[in-house]
Symmetry: C2
Subunit: 418 residues, 2 copies
Amino acid sequence: MTVEEIVLAMAKQARQAAPAVAGCSTAKKNDALKAIADNIVEQAPYIRSQNALDLEAARKNGLSDAMIDRLTVGDKTITAMAEGLMDVAGLQDPVGSADGTWVRPNGLEVSRVRIPLGVIGIVYESRPNVTIDAAGLCLKSGNAVILRGGSEAIHSNLALAKSISHGLAKAAMPENAVQVVPVTDRVAINVLLAREEEIDLIIPRGGEGLIRFVVENSKIPVLKHYKGVCHVFVDRTADMKTAEDICFNAKVQRPGVCNAMETLLVHKDAAPVFLPEMGARFEGAGVAIRGCEQTRRILPAASRATEEDWYEEYLDLILSVRVVENIDEAMAHIARYGSQHTEAIVTSDYGNAERFLKGVDSSVVLVNASTRFNDGGQLGLGAEMGISTSKLHAFGPMGLKELTTTKFVVRGSGQVRT
Amino acid sequence: MTVEEIVLAMAKQARQAAPAVAGCSTAKKNDALKAIADNIVEQAPYIRSQNALDLEAARKNGLSDAMIDRLTVGDKTITAMAEGLMDVAGLQDPVGSADGTWVRPNGLEVSRVRIPLGVIGIVYESRPNVTIDAAGLCLKSGNAVILRGGSEAIHSNLALAKSISHGLAKAAMPENAVQVVPVTDRVAINVLLAREEEIDLIIPRGGEGLIRFVVENSKIPVLKHYKGVCHVFVDRTADMKTAEDICFNAKVQRPGVCNAMETLLVHKDAAPVFLPEMGARFEGAGVAIRGCEQTRRILPAASRATEEDWYEEYLDLILSVRVVENIDEAMAHIARYGSQHTEAIVTSDYGNAERFLKGVDSSVVLVNASTRFNDGGQLGLGAEMGISTSKLHAFGPMGLKELTTTKFVVRGSGQVRT
């Protein structure tokens, strides 16, 4: 079979399986999740042996340490995947609940009932745990899913696919509810992205390059964010200790993720007090600062920020810092350079807090809290499939609910329209 | 200026106006809606004189009576447009309300707050009233809007645009909150559909040809339905009088609209009793029936339905009729030939009613009620911007809420992530 034939067959199988997956009871879906979790733990030696093949190839191909780290399935990864599935099994099933039910004057009873989207395609890179995490969320939300991971993780992903198949079979769920694309040629992605007849939604997970490739080639709706150029604005009235802790957490706790702070904006009246202490703390953590002129007058060790720096997602211990006149200038900076991902204000001023919350057009806007909270788990969605910065369908972290839609169910007693 | 420059400038002006429109109070938006309504009534003679120019051109160009009917702005149209705006002014403003607020264990208060989408582009055909209806809904939901109507209605649309500008000015709303594209070249649509930087959503209104053109050429997400091949299934246990009234209403009350029944499916045990009476009633209303073999044995006057008939949206007094073995065959027929728009079952059987509601994958599914109720107003959304049969963002009729999205607003007191 050609690549095209293989992927097309998978798409058709997923479409065919979708109604049966959508119709599975919560108990059955949870049984499958638990059976997959058990099998991953049981088969850990096999999964790790397959992962070793990927790691060997990665070393041979000279992949970076960071990439090899992401690719590695250690004991911790195995445990985390199994626990993640159990967590998803414990979440409330969104399917079948009504977003609202009301009665019309003519007696029609109208409900907006949550239903699965149908078939979801996930296109991702080197982390094999995405195979399990994404499969779990799609299953629980009643969707069939096609998983297309990176070629560098193919042995690991196919090993995990065996555990998934085992779990589906044990719970008597449709075998094509979850399918892992075995073809590593990149053209397989193009074939997948063209199957609008069978696939309802594409979610890419990975670097900006992969995401742009998916968006440019997809005929299917895509939920994604390109990057997270997240800002913290330290207002004139900010409590200095709070501001310091939040900014340190936002930049340093995990700099390589999309909700880490990339640009710090400081009110000009706060800067002389705040920046010296904050700068010292950042220096201690190895953060390189690129500042505007005013910043560099206070922190002479900072290098000069260029226009490009304000657009940059460093994903590293680098931070651009700008001193601003007031909240208006801070919000204008965010509107111009931001990515509509996550922005926070640190302030004691009620009016400014409310202005920032209303006026900043980002998926998550926070007052006196770290940008690192833009995460489905942290915000209480129970789990996360990714973060969307497009406004259609989902804006912000996507949990189980965002993998569903609603249809109108109408119960009548003979009503006709007059 | 070239067409491209004109449309690009409008897109940029809309984007620029969007935050101010989003920030307008409900009172201000309602003031604008009322001022526009008043001005339409005041300026009725002018609007009708401009409409006369379009009608004259339409007659000269040999447009069909049906198209001229759609194009005509009579006294009733004027009144309906003004009343429609007043109705929208009376609806609850979705912007700013929270879909939910909860507190995390660490004290973070999380809300999903409704916000406007931003900039909406409407591409439509000959009905000038869409200019007013769409502008009203977009304004009330806090969006800036660019309206691109048909060239055949350009004088009418520009006349209505003057009333809109007047109303916006009177309420001190941004003048670019609503813009009507003055260029009638079709390339203006292409330019609009490429402006993904400025426009968040495109909604096409019109025939299948226009909609396919928009979908194929748009880089911006599109909410639409191609057609409504709506089914009614008359089950074995249906009350015959109820079934007759529903089927008659679904087909005859307004055959030219998307929620009219196009195919009638009848349980084989009900057919011998139901079809003769129903057939006579349809015949009396001038409905031409295209039937399967079994139908034609009962209704010899029916012509033979071809395979193509089952896919057909007649939008006319034509109906395809098929006798089926049972509910499974009915649901399989709908899954194969349907358009995921609207389907109804007429039954007295509880189990079949529930099976149909759960198993039929359409935006509106009804028991014992006419398909004609798939309409935002009829279902209680207050108004309607169109109907979506794609599952992302909106599935079914789109009201004010569907023209908004939610962002996460997080109120903290110094929380950092551990």
